[in-house]
Symmetry: C2
Subunit: 331 residues, 2 copies
């Protein structure tokens, strides 16, 4: 009998299709680790020596000998650009549009061409997530920007076009409807129960145990109850904070360590699978809010959502999150 | 300068990224028509002679000589099953689930193994969309079923696993949140303006002309103003009806003809591209509603949504819908 589950935080339904059940091991297909990449590629715009191929640097981190270890640059093919005003226009009183104002940055995580999440040191990961926070805080200073979205596309099936390890940050001039609906669902829970739904989820998942991948001092890693796809993974900070910009240095260090551990589990357990990693956070200006709680979602791209998913928003997941959690714990 | 557009019916934002602009012709990659399939495959569970490989038939259409020309069967690997009750259960007062009650059917469109949408006669297409309506109406009689979703996955990149031409119908015991949000957006427009947002969209798009692909007596085919992906295409009935079950035979005939014409344009213009086709309709029990208006959405899978799309719900479209409409008009 299939089971329909609702995510308590987003209120979205997911079908856990046990009739088509797959074991976690079934998703171990091609070994993406086996693709041999060079440490340096002279044609890669993100490799050392090609710094002039990117637009001028926004910030960088340097090693003791003065070489860069991380660079943040504007995306050369930006989806949104910083010039212009975030004013809504009405065409003929029906079609609404606005100038594509925003910012689109690339975080070049390391000069080494052939590394990936899952292979970094804790120190390197701390450098990366600290750069994320610095850029996050800086972008919130521009009042035109409403949402700062940090994400990483791991692998070609996850939509990446350049193999050099990088993440992206996009600041948008609107709070997208998809985000607004999530904020509403969380607010409703807060209004009903006087507590943050994510804080409660952390408590319940620790008690339930079966979906926990890592239970660290300050972070909990779970396969959510209503996982949309096999191996969907959430990293939840135990300390309630609405936005990523509010995280302090000591938390960032712990965050980096846990993110490294889960990335390594995915890298080794599923042979560097394609996935998207996104940081969920309350919009800019909503720092300190009680009802929302920043966290990381890792969404593997091992399956292809089709017409049913596109037409209903309901995902059909062929694997139990309890099974994938067990698998990841054992890696 | 990129442009951000809002879909007037769904209120979703889309980034039209002109900096990365692609011409419609750029999406013509591999010629999927060139894949030579046999007319009959003895290993295919949907081909003639293998009727016993599917669960017992729900309905079929016959030719004059008594052979079947279309069959509807339960999906052997059903995401939802008809047995059980649609009752919500609360685990520990936090996690909500229910039995996977519903129905999952496959419409085997033709006995011919190597046909596709875009190659059918108007008569065959009429047979298919009529079978859709018959199943739709029949499924609405079961009070446990709230939404009847008809969809078609065209091509491997669109998630299909069997090449034999087929569509699917899933009846769900909940109205998914994604659907609820769309109904709310349409209701809000109705409350504000006293008119159906889709009726108004038809009027405005006919006046605007640039995004119209086909303007037929009873159906309008457009590339929507806030198209999420290149060649997103909507087929809108000019006659206001909330659900697909309300469409009459004469409308179905016109619908089949227009759907055939647009399928052929995609098939020829883009060499049988991968796409998902979904019928949007009000939930079961909301027949006759003024605020919602059934229609077809065709969502090509020529691009890969990545972390930004998953994390914000905002699509980045590299092609102007006005350009793809012009291209499709010329096919």
């Amino acid at each position: 009998m299939p089971e329909i589950r609702q995510n308590p935080a987003t209120k979205e339904w997911v079908i856990i299709a046990t009739e088509r059940a797959k074991r976690p091991e079934d998703f171990l297909k091609d070994d993406a680790r086996a693709i041999e990449l060079p440490k340096h590629d002279e044609d890669c715009p993100f490799c050392t020596g090609n710094e002039k191929l990117t637009p001028p640097e926004i910030m960088s981190k340097k090693t003791k000998n003065g070489d860069w270890s991380l660079r943040v640059v504007p995306n050369k093919f930006a989806a949104l650009v910083p010039e212009g005003e975030a004013v809504r226009e009405e065409d003929s009183d029906f079609f609404r549009s606005m100038e594509g104002v925003g910012q689109h940055e690339v975080v070049i995580e390391t000069p080494v061409h052939n590394l990936s999440f899952g292979q970094y040191s804790d120190r390197k990961m701390t450098e990366i997530v600290t750069a994320f926070r610095e850029r996050y805080v800086d972008l919130t200073k521009d009042e035109r920007f409403k949402l700062i979205k940090i994400f990483r596309n791991n692998g070609k099936a996850a939509g990446t076009s350049l193999e050099h390890p990088h993440s992206q940050i996009v600041a948008t001039p609107v709070v997208p409807l998809h985000i607004r609906h999530r904020l509403e669902a969380a607010t409703r829970y807060y209004d009903d129960h006087g507590a943050c739904v994510f804080c409660r989820m952390i408590e319940m998942e620790i008690k339930e145990k079966s979906r926990v991948v890592i239970d660290d001092d300050r972070f909990l890693v779970i396969e959510p109850f209503a996982a949309r796809v096999p191996f969907e993974t959430w990293v939840l900070p135990k300390e309630h904070r609405a936005t990523y910009g509010e995280v302090n240095n000591s938390e960032l260090k712990d965050f980096a360590r846990v993110l490294n551990r889960v990335s390594e589990k995915l890298y080794r357990g599923l042979s560097n699978p394609a996935y998207n990693l996104v940081i969920r956070t309350a919009p800019s200006g909503e720092e300190g809010e009680e009802y929302y709680h920043w966290h990381v979602q890792i969404i593997p791209r091992l399956t292809t959502p089709a017409g049913f998913e596109l037409g209903t928003g309901v995902y059909i997941n062929t694997t139990l999150p309890e099974a994938t959690a067990k698998f990841l714990r054992s890696v």
